[in-house]
Structure formats: structure tokens, C-alpha cells
Symmetry: C2
Subunit: 360 residues, 2 copies
């Protein structure tokens, strides 16, 4: 490599890491280990995600978007636990030292880190196929904790997958399915409008403005950190939607030992692309089955899927408002294992998502 | 992938992780985040290393050795800080699900984790070029700490690179250079004896028994965790020797703002291969320059290089004994910047390592 590891960190990552005067960071980059002080009365939440070129992103993705996304998917895991971001490590395998790429990547990465006061405290760089591995650290209050608890979770306020109870309402933040729609356009499974005249309605594919907005959802997801924090003490369970709504819901149902019912007519309205003015003005549209696919099994949404008792519905709305995040009730948790999809009339849905016997 | 991520963790990594009933682990694998309680009066030490096939290991290395080494290099960083291992995350990119490979890899990995009571608490698995990224967590006492300190390191007992002072003795643990000797054999830069008759002296290359022992040092390094813990409050500074003795010493000198003098005749005796009975019985031998190369600039040793005031020499020996780890004084720290190499008579060494002006 033309640039040594230390030069690389110094030049692209170090000076900005210093900006993060996070009280918890006793020692950042530059020794064998970083040293982190945990705020009193808290425990550490840790998550780790590895992104591989060709699998998690296209090799030609804008480097700033990739830097953003690499941290965003990790912050999304903290959000799903209701953890306050503290710090992260970055391990980077690079096929070559491309300074323009590194500048863009670190710009995107560090801007999101700054936004969340999340300090880069260490990591590793090496030559090899492009691979980005971030481990992120956050804190979760454990009220009244003075001694290490022998109970697994003590009084931790962490939001877990296992806390959903029959009768809970099921909510999701933001919108769903647009990332997958963008992926389908990028991979040629969905046509892109070839009309370049913005005044003329596009008739032959996804309008470019819709695709651009959806692509931002795919490449620059917003981790719902503020909502996750606001849901501590309100939500019973939470997960971030990375594999698709139904797949991630299955994790909650399995961990909590219950089932769920989803009102699909409400859910499919969460595909923002269909509400986009350019789409509603267009003669091109998606059919119901496509919209269901995107919303229920899209993936890469990085929204929070969570449950709360009906008595907490006002508190959920308050959390949504305080975090400036849209929240929609899409169904309920039921004692009976399995997943049921119903339409606006409460009738069981017949179709490809009607039966999910392996759920619950 | 034939095996999903959850199946893979469940089958190869999960059941053994449960064995680690580490009090600090509030929640392990299976949620969006792991949750870790820090023992009271400690801070968290964090290190991260990424290993890439073809760069850090040969693709055909024994999987159990690779699993061992992937964790060992991280534990070595904890050792260099004097941190007690607590837990680790594992991110794994695999070109294919090879169950025999995974079994071997997890055997080696988890055996070392068990030995150090270090719990696997989370991670990620994905398809992609073989890449192993481990982030490890340990604890370091911060005596008297009740509130988060505004001072960077507070009263932390962590061993840092920056604490070396003029007059300190310079020590290294174990032996040096054998990993590099093995690498040179594997890459054809050093001949391997072709004599298969053990009774006949090998005359044409490194005896196979010497190579086998050296290869174990390369592929199965021993992290000096117990020594690092025993050196808390004794050593002024420490680093683990991963890039080579001189290169890693340079990090201490730069961070501490001082220079050093190394007694090379003592140092080159640390090449265990030359003391191996098969080597001393052999007509094959390494010349002084080769031995210096291996010891001073070999790399992949994962020994501890550390400094301590002369008044602590008995305490250093006690730490060596209590941790059952050989420790050798190889020189001293000096106020004058730069590195000086001297022979047994105290004369400055002339040769390729005589001058390291960029040190200090």
C-alpha cells in the first residue's frame, strides 16, 4: 500500500475523531486498545455488522453513501435496543489506496458519527477485497444497578426481541419497501422510466424522481436512534427491519413465544414510492402483489418494528413526536402462534403471504 | 448459502458460548445487540483485528489454527494493555459453507476463548471472500473511580505505549523471530531439510522438527494475557510485538518521547529455532545477519515488549514467574531520541540495523 496504516488513519479518520469529545472515551485511536468508561448505572450495548462488496453494496456506490450506510446499519441495531451511541471501531480491508474514495467514505462515515456523537476509537486497516466491519458501542440505563447483577438482564431498560406480549399493538417507524424497490431497479427487475422530459408523464417505468428517492433509502438509511431512545420504558420489544418486515417480525415472535396479526392494507400504504407525486402523476404503477412484496419482505429498511401495550399508545405517539419520526400501528400481537395477514375488512388474506406457519 | 446465519451460529458457535457463564455478559448472541456489564471500578479495553486470506494467513492453513490465531492476536492486544478478557464479537465472511472447515475453525477459536473465559457475544456472518474480524473486550481497573473522570486516563491501570521513561529497562517476553522463520520456509525463502531420516543430520536446510515448532509459533501464537495482567502496576509501558521488535519499539519511543538502546547479542539469542536440538545437531545454521533479521524485524511474534524502572526488576521477575512466562531484559530506555544497537562489549553495532534515525 502506498499509504501506511498509521498515515491512513491520521489523514482520513483521526482529526475528526478528536472532534468527538465524548466523555466516555478515555483513550481513542493509537494504542493497543481503546479505553472506554461506561456512564454510571448503565450497561454496554454492542453490535457488529460486516459489509462485503457485491453482496451488501454495489462496488460503484458513492463512497460517502457507503461510509454512511456502514455506520447506519450498526446504529440501527443500537436504536433497536434503545441504546445511546457512544463509540465504534472500524476494520477496513481495501484492494488499493484510492484517496478520493477514502475521502468520500470517511466524509459520509464521520458526518453520521458526528451527528450521533459517536467516537471512532480504533480499528484495523489491511489490504484485501473490499470489506467494512464496524462494531458499535452504546449505553443502556440499568436503574438502581450498583453491583453486577446475577440476573441476566437485571433492570436493564434495553429493548429486547423477547418482550412482546399478547394484546400488544405492533408498530413500525417510517416507511417500508422503498429500498427494495430501488434495488429491483438497479438490478433490472423493475423498469426505470426513460422519459427525460420531466413535464411529460412517464409511462414505461418507475419515474426517475421516485427511483432517486428510493435509492437514497437503500444507500443512505436513517437509523432511528432518537425513536429507540424515546421508546425505552414504553415499548415491550423491538427489532430493526433489515431482512424484511415479516422475517424480522418472526424473530420477535419466536423470542417472545407468541403470534401476530398484520393489517396489510395499512402496511402496504407504507411504501413511500407509491405516494410520491411523480408516481401518482405517472401512468406507471405497481400492483398490489408488488407492493406487498416490497413492504412485507423488502429488507434494508432500517426502520424499527416494535410492540407496546394498548395502554401505552399515547406514550408511543409522544415518542414518535419527540423523535420527529412517523410511527404506524400495523397490527397486534396474539397468543396464538403464527402470523395472520388480514385486509381492511378483517378478512384473512388469500395470497402468497397468507400463510406463514413457520412463524411464531 | 446452504446454511442460514442463525443455523450456522447455533450449530458451530452458540452452544459453546453458553458455556461461558461470564458474569459480565448480560445478554449474548441472538438480539440486535449484546449487553455487557462492566465490573465495578473498571473501564473497558477494546481492540479489533481483521484477518484476510492470502495476506494474514495461507488459504490452506489448518482451520483450527486459524480460529485460534484470529482470537489470539486480539487477546494479545488486551495483554499489552494489561486487560482482563471478557468477551468478543466475530464477523465472518465466507466464500462457501464448508462444514468441516467451520467445525475446525470454531474448535480452535472456542478452545482459546474457553481458556481465557472470553465469551462470544455476537457478530455477523455473510457470504464473501474469506475475512475474519474480531473485536475483543476486556476490563482494566480504575482504582477509586466512582464518577466518570474528566482526565483522559484517570487512574487507569492500563499499560500504554506512552509511559516509558529514560532509565527504564526494556524487556520482551518469550522468544522472537521463529514465526518469521516459518514464514520464510513456507514462502520458499529459506530451504527446508529434505532429509527424511531423523537419525541422519540434515545438512541442506531447516530441520523439519525446527520448522514444525516455528510454524506453530506462526499459526498458533500464545497471547501473553497472564503476563500482561501481572505487569499492571509494574511496567511503565507495553506493546505487543506484531510488526517486528524494532517497528513496535518505535511506537513506544514515539508515544513516550524517548530513545532506546538494545543489546543485540542478548536479543538474537531469543530466536528459539537456533536453540532447538535438531538445529544444533544439524550442519545447517543461520548466520548472524539472518538471526538479527528474524529477531529484530520478524513480526507475528505476539510477545510483550515492555519497560519498567530498574527498581521494579524484582517485580518484573515475579510477574514472569507468576505467569509462567519467560522474560528477558534486552536493553534500556534513554532520554536521547533514536535507537542504538550495541554488542556484548557495548560497542555500537555496524550493520543493517545500526541506524534507525527515524525512531524516537
Amino acid at each position: 500500500m502506498a499509504l501506511g496504516e498509521f498515515d491512513l488513519i491520521e489523514r482520513f479518520f483521526r482529526q475528526r475523531a478528536v472532534k468527538h469529545a465524548v466523555a466516555s472515551v478515555a483513550l481513542g485511536i493509537g494504542d493497543d486498545c481503546a479505553l472506554l468508561n461506561l456512564p454510571p448505572g448503565t450497561q454496554l450495548a454492542i453490535s457488529c455488522d460486516m459489509l462485503v462488496a457485491g453482496r451488501h453494496f454495489f462496488p460503484d456506490v458513492k463512497p460517502a453513501h457507503l461510509g454512511h450506510k456502514a455506520l447506519a446499519v450498526n446504529l440501527s441495531d443500537l436504536a433497536a435496543c434503545g441504546a445511546q451511541p457512544l463509540a465504534f471501531t472500524l476494520a477496513l480491508s481495501l484492494p488499493a489506496i484510492d484517496e478520493a474514495w477514502l475521502q468520500g467514505f470517511s466524509d459520509g462515515l464521520m458526518a453520521l458519527a458526528d451527528e450521533h456523537h459517536c467516537a471512532l476509537i480504533g480499528g484495523d486497516t489491511t489490504a484485501g477485497p473490499l470489506n467494512i466491519c464496524i462494531t458499535v458501542f452504546g449505553s443502556v440505563p440499568v436503574p438502581g444497578r450498583k453491583q453486577p447483577s446475577s440476573e441476566p438482564q437485571g433492570n436493564s431498560q434495553a429493548l429486547l426481541r423477547s418482550g412482546a406480549r399478547a394484546g400488544d399493538d405492533l408498530y413500525v417507524s417510517g416507511t417500508l419497501g422503498d429500498a427494495r424497490l430501488a434495488l429491483d431497479v438497479l438490478q433490472g427487475r423493475l423498469p426505470l422510466s426513460t422519459t427525460s422530459n420531466a413535464a411529460a408523464p412517464a409511462t414505461n417505468g418507475v419515474p426517475s424522481a421516485v427511483f432517486a428517492a428510493a435509492r437514497l433509502r437503500l444507500e443512505c438509511p436513517t437509523p432511528r436512534v432518537a425513536l429507540g431512545l424515546a421508546l425505552r420504558g414504553v415499548a415491550n420489544s423491538a427489532i430493526d427491519v433489515s431482512d424484511g418486515l415479516l422475517g424480522d417480525l418472526a424473530h420477535i415472535l419466536k423470542a417472545s413465544g407468541c403470534g401476530a396479526c398484520i393489517e396489510t392494507d395499512i402496511a402496504i400504504d407504507l411504501l413511500a414510492s407509491c405516494q410520491h407525486p411523480a408516481m401518482t402523476d405517472s401512468l406507471f404503477s405497481l400492483n398490489t402483489e408488488q407492493r406487498q412484496d416490497y413492504v412485507l419482505a423488502g429488507g434494508d429498511d432500517y426502520e424499527l418494528l416494535f410492540t407496546a401495550p394498548p395502554a401505552c399508545s399515547a406514550a408511543v405517539q409522544a415518542a414518535a413526536q419527540s423523535s420527529n419520526t412517523r410511527v404506524t400501528r400495523i397490527g397486534r400481537i396474539e397468543a396464538e402462534p403464527g402470523l395472520r395477514l388480514i385486509d381492511a375488512q378483517g378478512q384473512a388474506l388469500n395470497g402468497r403471504f397468507a400463510s406463514f406457519d413457520h412463524f411464531g
